[in-house]
């Protein structure tokens, strides 16, 4: 995040949204939501990413993700 302004709902943070359609496939990232707490983040994720009948959906706070390296960086 490059900005530190406050949203109307207070200090909102970003969550990554993961889901999968079938048991056979792995979870993959389908998008992200911004919310002030976990409960609202779950509600936003469910309402926003409703394009499929997912058999699993999970969210995680983006600042809890530990990046080892990114595209373009040497592993």
């Amino acid at each position: 995040m490059t900005t530190n302004y406050k949203r109307v709902t207070g200090d909102a943070v970003e969550y990554e949204v993961f889901a999968r359609k079938t048991r056979a496939e792995p979870l993959h990232q389908v998008g992200s939501v911004v919310a002030p707490d976990d409960d609202l983040a779950m509600a936003y994720a469910r309402a926003t990413y409703d394009e499929e009948r997912w058999c699993e959906m999970a969210i995680v706070r983006k600042d809890h993700v530990i990046e080892l390296w990114q595209p373009g960086e040497i592993a």
């Binding site: 490059t2 109307v8 207070g10 990232q29 998008g31 911004v34 926003t48 990413y49 595209p71 373009g72």
Partner: protein, 315 residues
């Protein structure tokens, strides 16, 4: 930040750009511009569709309309959220910009006043969105956007089907319902043709194409749109001012009216006897149309009201 040569090589090889430090400043600028057009278009379709969905003929139809509006807001969110990752302030973009500076197609500024006009919008405007975004989904060099569009494409397909199913049903009903449908198509078809912008003959150079932010030219996208909309309308017995020609063994869709030509947005009427120049069209686009201010106020006013009461309560 990579070098210009590294960046050029990535673009040339078809590699996806994944983060800001892989971009040149020019690429970043062009990407942001393309995302703003996309986000604004998705966002403004919500109030435009909502004002017409209120005229739905049944609760079920209304709920379908609302589901589509919810989709459009999620699509807008995808574009604005990427803009935020690229350093823009999402709240400012949506809630503090002057209505005239929004970058969505002029068509949305002309009021949709009935359920019939709404379903024609689903059949024609969403088809335009489907062509434009489908091309980006296919070719876009920016990874996060390309992936974000998976959801958008699935849902635009549903909007389009809703539009087509209803158009077919209304046409089959005949009588005054079909007349109303034909009148809607008469003004909405040419507005959608205009959606794709200047003809290739007038637009010499496209930075978007160069950076693989899109893959098809304006005229190629327009032809794609015509090749889906014209046959469908003919199939359901609705007249459109375009027809197919075969040139050099290829299907080409020709318009039966001077393009561009004069449009009266208040009367929702095209004057096919009055050709216009693209300068005239650009003047009309920049001035925006009848519903621009009202629609932007629909989401901006509530936001500022909410923020004010919030601050009063000291939170």
């Amino acid at each position: 930040m990579g070098t210009q040569a590294e960046f050029d090589q990535m673009i040339k090889s078809g590699e996806l750009i994944e983060s800001r430090n892989e971009m040149t400043p020019e690429y970043l600028r062009e990407l942001k511009h393309t995302l703003i057009v996309s986000g604004d278009t998705e966002l403004i379709s919500a109030p435009a569709y909502y004002l017409a969905a209120k005229r739905a003929p049944s609760i079920n139809a209304f709920m379908t309309g609302i589901a589509i509006i919810q989709d459009e807001l999620a699509h807008a969110h995808i574009a604005y959220h990427i803009l935020e990752d690229l350093g823009e302030d999402q709240e400012k973009l949506i809630f503090s910009r002057d209505p005239k500076s929004f970058r969505y197609p002029y068509a949305f500024d002309v009021p949709l006043d009935s359920w019939t006009e709404l379903v024609v919008a689903n059949g024609m405007y969403d088809q335009a969105g489907f062509c434009l975004l489908g091309d980006i989904h296919d070719k876009c060099s920016y990874g996060p956007w390309k992936r974000g569009l998976n959801k958008v494409m699935a849902e635009e397909n549903f909007h389009l089907r809703n539009g087509r199913t209803w158009m077919k049903r209304i046409s089959a009903a005949g009588g005054s319902a079909k007349d109303e449908l034909q009148r809607a198509v008469d003004w909405m078809f040419p507005l959608s043709v205009e959606w794709f912008g200047l003809p290739d003959s007038m637009k010499m150079h496209s930075t978007q194409l160069e950076y693989r932010l899109k893959g098809l030219t304006n005229d190629q996208l327009r032809q794609w749109w015509l090749s889906t909309v014209v046959p469908y309308c003919e199939q359901i017995g609705i007249k459109v001012p375009a027809h197919k020609e075969v040139r050099d063994g290829k299907d080409v869709w020709d318009l039966d009216y001077p393009f561009p030509c004069d449009f009266d947005p208040e009367a929702k009427r095209w004057d096919f006897k009055k050709p216009a120049t693209w300068d005239d069209v650009l003047v009309r686009w920049r001035a925006r149309g009848p519903r621009n201010v009202e629609m932007v106020a629909m989401f901006q006013e509530e936001f500022h009201k909410f923020r004010k009461t919030h601050q009063k309560n000291g939170s």
